[in-house]
Point group: C2
Chain length 380, copies 2
């Protein structure tokens, strides 16, 4: 009778109505029926991305869309600035190197965020850099980057701004067009509330100019092929049909809630978690915390992996541990996608029980008390 | 009250129990629970591929695994032989060119198959060709290629043999190890009976030698990254979790039927369709027809697209039209995956009704009569 609760930063819980939409008999993709679904889905993606640019959908993990951004914008020998403050920031540089692109690294301490000024300094030193790769929400550290300020700073610069919003989109503010983000990359299993297997890129006119000149080899992830097919409400290669159908349902739910309210919901849940954690004497890992995932330093002498394992194995509640250098040192609780106050309270409650079992000293119920009070005060 | 019947060569019908397995609450992929599913799935893929080689799974369409085969085996400037007798054979050459690999084309007339002798002749002329790219079942023409004979011919040759078995696997004999096929590429939405979104490559020790030397750039589709993770029962990047869960169920069904019987079932259905079509005076398009899809020449003066559209729009029965040069000239009925005698009879029956409505002259019921007799004679 264990009830499983997913509070991980991807995959996130899939609403039952979305799961059931994907369990219907499969339909063929080269039909008016699927093309209509795909057109709706692509239109609603624009709403979510807050853009008038085309949003391209690939059948792949989020990394596929990151690769697409590298190979469609750059040529071997080109230079790109990669902000690296966590596992996913590092991926930008790895991708650049794999394709012979020179990666100028901005190393950010894990838990900290890059500033627009720092990027400007590096851009001035490397005015030939064609692209700046950033991460809106660095899932491995729980850090939010001020993409708005970076966009404003890059407004009159020739370089193209790319943001990995795989875990941020739908849960954090990201005004693609207003902020001047040329390429926004995302994935399906985070704020979009469906299983993994779809990835997305929005592409600005400024980015399209680079696409025409880029000489990195590409085929499956070719923006040009994708765009030609998108204009006909289809994909270059067989789409992940059921995931598109599920996404269409999930996007309708987001439109119904409205993006504004969804973002406010994530902020409210995140504030409650941050306060609750601190109320029992724990420290946040991120200096500039994202609203989609809260990274918490594990109490001294308690390996964070033990907390994660006990919560999952003994109680069925899944949170995430630390990755890379942060392994064993932090745990991460997501406030992402199809989650509400009571999912969060369940997670915090389980955390209190497990912390007590592992010998951490604190007043039982205090985290919950803080979160409940926060929720009560902000009830609409 | 229209009942939809899918008789297309991908996507193919997904068994209801598989659909429901994917509609369960999603689980996290970095857990013992998912790793066990992934290990079972990977083991059962080996059974399906009839190989002891590792079978790698990507979150992508089948084309992604084709691209993986090109970039992991070859370097820019290398030479590869591409057999081109349909839309999917052409994709090999397009992929090679995209990555700077010289494609030596063997042009095969649409509807015909390449012979092992023809490939040998070209290989002798280009002894430096590192890879031969073939297609087991060319979905666009309904043609089967004698991969067994090609494997035998290449037995003592240095070149590596790659076969696109995207639509063939699970429905046609393909003894990967016994025949000496170094890389077998497949996809999820055909004989594997699940929705599109997963793609596969099996890789022989001989192929691995090329992988170590290949210098085409790669990241998302890197065999080495995938293999390192496969050994830990996981994937390099977030897997398409629900599709893996569905595939695990579908593969259990295939093991229960046995691969031998599944292949015999496809052959039996295909024989019935071929005979039925000819019984009403129509001609097969393929000289060497595959057992997974039957391509039929449309009667003179009837655009095959009209047949497909009327069957789908008026009766809910989906078959496929012609692609590329064969557009309007052929239609294609699949015998692929989760299909039995009565699915086929339903399709043939609808075809008779539609042909009659479009003015084609034949004795109504004759196709059905032939197929029924065939099924009766071969009942076990």
């Amino acid at each position: 009778m264990k009830k499983h609760v997913l509070l991980t930063p991807g995959p996130t819980p899939v609403p039952p109505q979305v799961l059931l939409s994907m369990a219907q008999p499969i339909i063929h993709h080269r039909t008016p029926q699927f093309e209509e679904i795909f057109a709706q889905m692509s239109e609603n993606l624009k709403y979510l991305f807050q853009t008038r640019n085309d949003v391209i959908t690939f059948a792949s993990s989020g990394t596929g869309a990151m690769e697409a951004s590298v190979v469609n914008l750059l040529s071997p020998g080109d230079k790109a600035i990669c902000v690296q403050g966590g596992k996913f920031g590092e991926r930008w540089a790895e991708l650049c190197r794999a394709y012979g692109v020179e990666a100028v690294i901005i190393d950010v301490e894990w838990g900290d965020a890059v500033s627009a000024e720092e990027i400007e300094r590096v851009l001035n030193k490397h005015p030939d850099a064609k692209v700046v790769f950033t991460t809106l929400s660095e899932t491995s550290t729980g850090v939010a980057t001020d993409v708005k300020a970076i966009g404003a700073m890059m407004n009159n610069k020739p370089a193209v701004l790319v943001t990995d919003a795989i875990s941020g989109l739908g849960g954090m503010e990201l005004k693609t067009d207003e902020w001047g983000v040329d390429v926004v990359v995302s994935g399906s299993q985070k704020g979009l509330m469906i299983p993994p297997g779809l990835a997305f890129c929005s592409i600005s006119p400024k980015a399209w100019e680079l696409v025409e000149k880029a000489r990195c080899p590409r085929y499956y992830f070719d923006f040009r092929k994708a765009k030609k097919n998108l204009d006909k409400n289809t994909t270059a290669f067989t789409p992940a049909i059921t995931l598109c159908i599920g996404l269409n349902e999930a996007l309708k739910m987001i439109r119904e809630e409205t993006l504004e309210k969804a973002i406010a919901r994530h902020a409210r849940l995140a504030e409650a978690v941050r306060g609750a954690i601190q109320a029992i004497g724990l420290e946040l890992f991120a200096k500039k915390p994202a609203n989609v995932v809260t990274a918490v330093k594990s109490p001294e002498n308690i390996d964070s992996g033990k907390i994660v394992k006990m919560m999952r194995d003994d109680y069925g509640i899944s949170i995430a541990g630390g990755q890379g250098d942060a392994k064993g040192k932090i745990f991460r609780i997501a406030q992402l996608g199809y989650m509400n106050e009571f999912d969060i309270l369940t997670g915090l409650s389980c955390l209190e029980i497990v912390l007590a079992r592992l010998g951490y000293k604190f007043e039982m119920g205090k985290a919950i008390g803080f979160a409940e009070t926060k929720f009560q005060e902000t009830s609409s």
